[in-house]
């Protein structure tokens, strides 16, 4: 069979990795990315846990391979319609074109939780309440300061903003925020050793290799204060600080604290686009809105619809490494599927 065309939706790490693997397997991938460049959410990231590898390195390596292998890429291009007709996948894009392929890998990723939905934390109300993504961009620019340009003397991190929160309709754990909170707290300490750093958490989920060690180091070496308890409300102070009310559930008492900066560790949530894929292709979504693989094991990257595959955070929160491994698996599954067609 000649064509072996495969459309990959999403040019983040998993989409790029999938396209690269497909190409190496002798197929013709077409990579569709809605942004102006490849890399997805990682483009806004500075360094990656647990190894402090610059995100740029990972992205550049993948982008390099894409261009070396001559993989066709469409940028600033969104999927407007997707359908499966007579064994072929037809994708129409917002630039007015349509493409046909034997298979599709959906690697459309996740949305960040909109922190203004938790109004009690004062994001976009108080100048020094920021999100973990805002902070990462500050790290990237090499200038971590308060709104008035001064160095923060105290910083609080709040875990699980928009994750594990039924109030906002997100019951799932976003997995990577715990370790991100540890990483960013340590980075703050590295920048400003005298700064007091507090992390407010429900429980710390240190699932990855080296994560727990990092958490221990954060406590022992960096003297970061981990407080088990959620922040209930925030208010602004006259000097643009953030007044926090929380409960220390280990000590069993309420707690008040004023910090120069509050960082909200925003979670991952399913993008609205998933519902579109589900209705147009007939694949299923989980109650949390993420796409559903056929099972959680060997068919995790296959879906209930033939020729439709999934990879990366489109099926739920994952870290970079997991997303890339899954992309390889999806590409191998596609290759196996296309070979059965011929």
């Amino acid at each position: 069979m000649a064509a072996k065309r495969v459309i990959v939706i999403g040019g983040g790490v998993s989409g790029m990795q999938a396209a690269i693997t497909l190409k190496k397997q002798g197929m013709t991938p077409l990579l569709i990315e809605k942004d102006i460049n490849l890399g997805g959410k990682l483009c806004r990231w500075d360094r990656l846990f647990p190894s402090q590898t610059p995100a740029k390195e990972v992205v550049e390596s993948l982008v390099g391979q894409i261009s070396e292998l001559g993989i066709r890429t469409l940028l600033c291009c969104e999927v407007s319609e997707i359908a499966r007709n007579e064994g072929k996948i037809e994708v129409s894009t917002t630039d007015g074109n349509s493409y046909e392929a034997e298979a599709v890998i959906i690697a459309s990723g996740f949305d960040l939780f909109n922190a203004t939905r938790k109004e009690e934390y004062g994001y976009k109300i108080y100048p020094n309440v920021i999100t973990s993504v805002d902070l990462e961009e500050m790290f990237k620019e090499g200038r971590v300061v308060c709104a008035d340009g001064k160095a923060p003397r105290s910083v609080a991190f709040l875990h699980c903003v928009g994750s594990r929160d039924r109030q906002v309709g997100n019951c799932h754990c976003s997995r990577v925020c715990c370790i991100t909170g540890v990483k960013q707290a340590m980075e703050i300490k590295e920048l400003y050793p005298d700064c007091n750093v507090y992390n407010f958490y429900m429980d710390m989920r240190m699932f990855g290799s080296g994560y727990e060690e990092l958490y221990t180091k954060a406590q022992e070496k960096y003297r970061i204060n981990f407080i088990r308890g959620r922040i209930s409300e925030c208010s602004g102070t006259i000097d643009s600080g953030v007044r926090i009310k929380a409960e220390d559930t280990l000590a069993g008492r309420p707690l008040k604290l004023t910090v120069d900066m509050l960082v909200l560790l925003v979670g991952k949530q399913a993008p609205a686009l998933n519902a579109k894929f589900a209705s147009e292709l007939g694949i299923t979504v989980s109650p949390d809105g993420f796409l559903k693989g056929m099972d959680c094991f060997e068919n995790a990257t296959r879906t209930s619809v033939e020729g439709v595959f999934v990879a990366g955070t489109a099926t739920g929160p994952k870290n970079v490494g997991e997303s890339m491994s899954e992309a390889v698996k999806a590409a191998m599954d596609v290759s196996e599927y296309i070979n059965t067609l011929s």
Partner: protein, 594 residues
Amino acid sequence: MANLYFEPFIIPFIIGVAVLFSVMWTKFISWISALPKSDKRLIMKNIFSVATFKALWEAFRECLLHLRIGRVNGRLWYMHTSLAFGWFLLIVFGKIEALLYLDSPVIPIYVDVFFRKYFPFAHVGALGVIMDALLLFVLSGLAAAVIKRFRPSMYGMKRATTHTLGDKLALSALWCIFPLRLLAESFNSAIYDSGSFLTGSLGYLLAAIFPSKTLPYINETMWWCYSTALGLFFISVPISRYLHIFAEIPLVFLRSFKVRANVRATTFTKLQRAACSRCGICIDPCPLSENNISCDTQSVYLLRDEREGGATIAKADSCLLCGRCQRMCPVGIELDTIRISVRRNLREKFDRFDYGYTSNIDMPLANSKIGFFSGCMGRLTPSVGESMKRIADKCGLNIWFMDAEEGVCCGRPQKMAGNIEAADKMREHNEEMFVESGIDTLVTSCPICLRTFKEDYQLKGIRIIHHSQFMAELMESGVLNGLDKRGTLTYHDPCELGRGLGIYDEPRLVIDRIGTLVEPPRSKADSLCCGGSLAHLGLSLEERNKIAATTDRELESTGAECIVTSCPMCKKSLERNAKVRVIDISEAVAERMA
């Protein structure tokens, strides 16, 4: 000796009347005598005043003519009025008929009731026509009642009340009374060739059907049956919903004397409970019923279970206290207060928290005569307080944000849960803080706090207003001006602000100045609940979202680009499910300042 006119067939009727009146009087007298002293003082103060005449007029209007039901539902009104007023007139004209015929001032009551049996040859001319017409009127009401029972949808009601055993007994007896009266009077006419257009004509027909020698026996039986049906009905009144017929009368008088239900239940609560006719009008407006969340916890059922001694805490807790049912109640029962008192009675102890923390909170120092109280929910929606700060700055006003650092809850959530003692602790703390701070105006953005401040707090010399009223005043007086007028906005009336406190106009006045107001299909007193109410103690988040979504869809149906509300709780609940922006009225104003 006066003629007693005794005949055996009146025995069931006499027993019924005796039981009914002895039970009822015992109940009513014991309830009224057990009222708290303050209520008794109110009665003594108002009984010799125009309030008594007002109550008389209201009793005539509501107990007989049921005008309030008429405003809600025309068909239901006809059913109630034809039965109640029709029956009342039958009694009155029966008495007149007897008085005219016997020309004696003392006539036993059963003689009027069974007049035709006693005096079959009496020809009272036009009165006979009137009596037949009235009987027909009542029978039509009965037909309406039968239809309602089996087809409530014909009355625009989705659900009719389910009945207790006592109700079923009384209902069966009631349904038999008037057809039996018709038959009894008609058989009488068949024998004596009397009666008017209805009983006379039917009698003529019966005379043609039945052999004439059987007629006296059937006639006697029919009168026995009629008397028995009446007796049975009267006996079952105290154990059925029909107690409302009599309980509503003292209720109207006591209410006119300004006696009110209390969250600490009094015997007035029992009287109100007895006055519930279980018409079921409270079922359909309930958001829990509209959203199919629970259909057996509405006020009618809580009152019924309470009367029968079977109310559960789960049922009492399952209510948003949104006030939609109370507004519709044709008897004017204070449903929300009664429900709180039931919660209080069913929860024996509230000892998990002692609320001692209030004594550890410092009294802040005021720096202005105008104090702003955010309240707990207000502090979870900081954009409201920030908007108020910006508005105050623009107007050159100094406002003291009294609970910015810390504050004590207004106490309404505790009160709504039935924990009156805890609510009192909060109230005492806040009263002291407000009064000692020296403020003369207390502004709050939270309708929940506002209602408590207005209804429960003693704050002499302090004006208590909602922030929408505060802004409306600033606009009216020209202090707050130069605002952009843009966008189409729809307004959601918060339950506590609208139905609770009757504040509908000021928020609309504010919105009119900053945009184009489009009203949703149900607004003002008929507005829906956001589902966030602190009053419901067992609702899951999904159920709350269901209620909010219904309300959101209705607000979105206006096509407005933004939903404006004036309660932090409503804002939080509505924005969770809305497809358009949801903002507080103060944010809408602050956004349009130059």
